[in-house]
Point group: C2
Chain length 334, copies 2
């Protein structure tokens, strides 16, 4: 009943050759034609496949890349990963995906797990990954690519969106449409993307010679509930602002809920710009104007960069790829 996995030895025995020859065949070296046939038939009849644990132990390469994201329920993250995976797979790499459930502690643990499993490289959307771990990895020649936000120490390659200009352009869009009191729902200010997005808001005000009213800036936590709460508080201070810009997907979701609940007519009573996720934008009425991040490009760029690093190309390290966002116009801005 319990079936023990066949090994190269078994294949060698069955085909009357040595393990060395079989191993060579398995690794793409040339073998005498008739031996090739023997080996192939032996493999088939034994249903043999190489033990990648043993192979990894020997070669120190596993042809596996680890991807670490905050949460599997973060659609932004998983979308990027699916592009990463596609590119890597085309180059013979498998992908192991882990999530750390928004916990820096778990993040560090999972990072260890991946290193331990001998991931040849790691792509991570970092939170509080210890700098030491990154340095360790780099020293062991395991390339690390950071996506969406830079690592604290900035010692590693990073691929991200141009958050500052994303925000700048969105708010500028509102300004050129005649809005003057523009509310913004930001993320936590200890998070890089949130800082950048606020910076864009501030800078465009400066460039247009507009005073920033502190009351127009509200801080959420990038979660649905906080988007809902902040939006509601904007609405309750009726008339304070004539437009609101929400700076991530989850908070956009919450803000729309609040708008619906309070029966605010968009864009007549209030203009609105959201973030990420085109599906959400087209499913609500009126269609939302939103900032769209270059999800596909982020994924592809990160994967290709990693592949270069895996091939020993260390030019330009640490590299920074800052990709442009787009403003998709719906009908939520007057």
């Amino acid at each position: 009943m319990f079936q023990i996995a066949p090994t190269i030895k078994d294949v060698a025995r069955l085909s009357g050759l040595s393990t060395a020859t079989v191993s060579k065949y398995l690794n793409g070296f040339s073998v005498k034609e008739q031996n090739r046939i023997k080996i192939e038939s032996a493999i088939k009849s034994l249903n043999f496949s190489v033990n990648s644990l043993a192979r990894g132990l020997k070669t120190n390469r596993t042809m596996t890349v680890g991807v670490l994201i905050p949460s599997l329920e973060n659609i932004f993250a998983t979308s990027i990963v699916s592009h990463i995976e596609r590119v890597l797979q085309e180059h013979g790499y498998s992908t192991i995906i882990c999530d750390y459930n928004g916990s820096a502690k778990l993040e560090n643990a999972k990072f260890d797990f991946l290193m331990n499993r001998f991931a040849d490289g790691i792509i991570i959307m970092p939170l509080g990954l210890s700098e030491e771990k990154v340095r360790n990895a780099l020293e062991k020649d395991v390339p690390i690519i950071s996506i969406d936000r830079p690592m604290k120490n900035r010692e590693c390659d990073v691929v991200l969106a141009d958050n500052m200009n994303a925000s700048y352009n969105a708010v500028e869009h509102l300004i050129t449409r005649g809005h003057r009191e523009i509310g913004i729902i930001c993320g936590p200010q200890d998070i890089y993307t949130a800082q950048e997005r606020l910076k864009g808001y501030l800078r465009v005000h400066e460039d247009y010679g507009m005073q920033v009213d502190e009351k127009n800036i509200k801080y959420g936590d990038y979660g649905i509930q906080s988007g809902y709460d902040m939006m509601k508080s904007f609405i309750k201070e009726s008339g304070r602002v004539d437009a609101v810009f929400v700076t991530n997907y989850e908070m956009t979701l919450g803000a729309v809920m609040a708008i619906n609940e309070m029966n605010i007519r968009i864009p007549d009573e209030l203009s609105f710009i959201g973030f990420d996720n085109q599906h959400l934008a087209t499913v609500v009425k009126p269609n939302l104007t939103i900032v769209v991040q270059p999800i596909r490009q982020i994924g592809e760029c990160a994967a290709e960069l990693l592949l270069r690093r895996l091939n020993g190309d260390k030019t330009n390290h640490p590299a920074v790829y800052r990709l442009k966002t787009e403003l998709h116009e719906g009908h939520s801005v007057r």
Copy 2:
């Protein structure tokens, strides 16, 4: 620069003990107190961690579970996985997540990948996984749990939602509210869940002595576009149906887009019931009445079942867990 990973030998040398002792310590056996201290300090100063490849090679266990889903962008799937992961982690297991991008071929390849990496067990949302592979795995004592839909051969444990009754209850809700011409947008009829959901629709008609009009049944492909198309065609045959039930999340998304575009007033002109995803339901106006699947329970049940199997408990195999769905009432039904 290039740092070679320390081994048990190194730890043994540094602590003046043998590899055997160190190994015992690492595996939780008791060691003399002063030796324990020596070992721990050696481990720390070397920054040692066990090579899990070597360990796995030796023990045939990796404490790793593979999870295989159709797509990372399938929020239903990833939500389940996040619950699976939480439970497994509490029991010392790591999780490797793979997606097969909706391709049965890739699905089989990734399954091999997981088996090959010595996943101790596998949880899969299957599409066209070869029965042979499943049997092979079971023979090698690697438990396989199917989620969301049963495997073709039905030889393996499965945890899923009660799709038939989900659909039955949704349509019954429409009937008791006075609807008689009820449209349904189904999934592809070669997919299990789609079959079951249609079955519920048919059965409730039967039970209420209502004739089923073939024209009220439209077949999509579970994708956004098809939900949009089918909904539009219902709308165009104006008056055909006075309610529409959409049977998965993506098609619900598409259907809502069509409704918005055609300016159909819900529920005045048309009653509507969607599927999955509470966020979508609360974000559109009016809030949608939807079928909610027991995502958390599916994940937890699958993980716990797998843990039992991993511990050698084979009672009741192949087990079937059919979990109840709920109908969340919004304001989209008249």
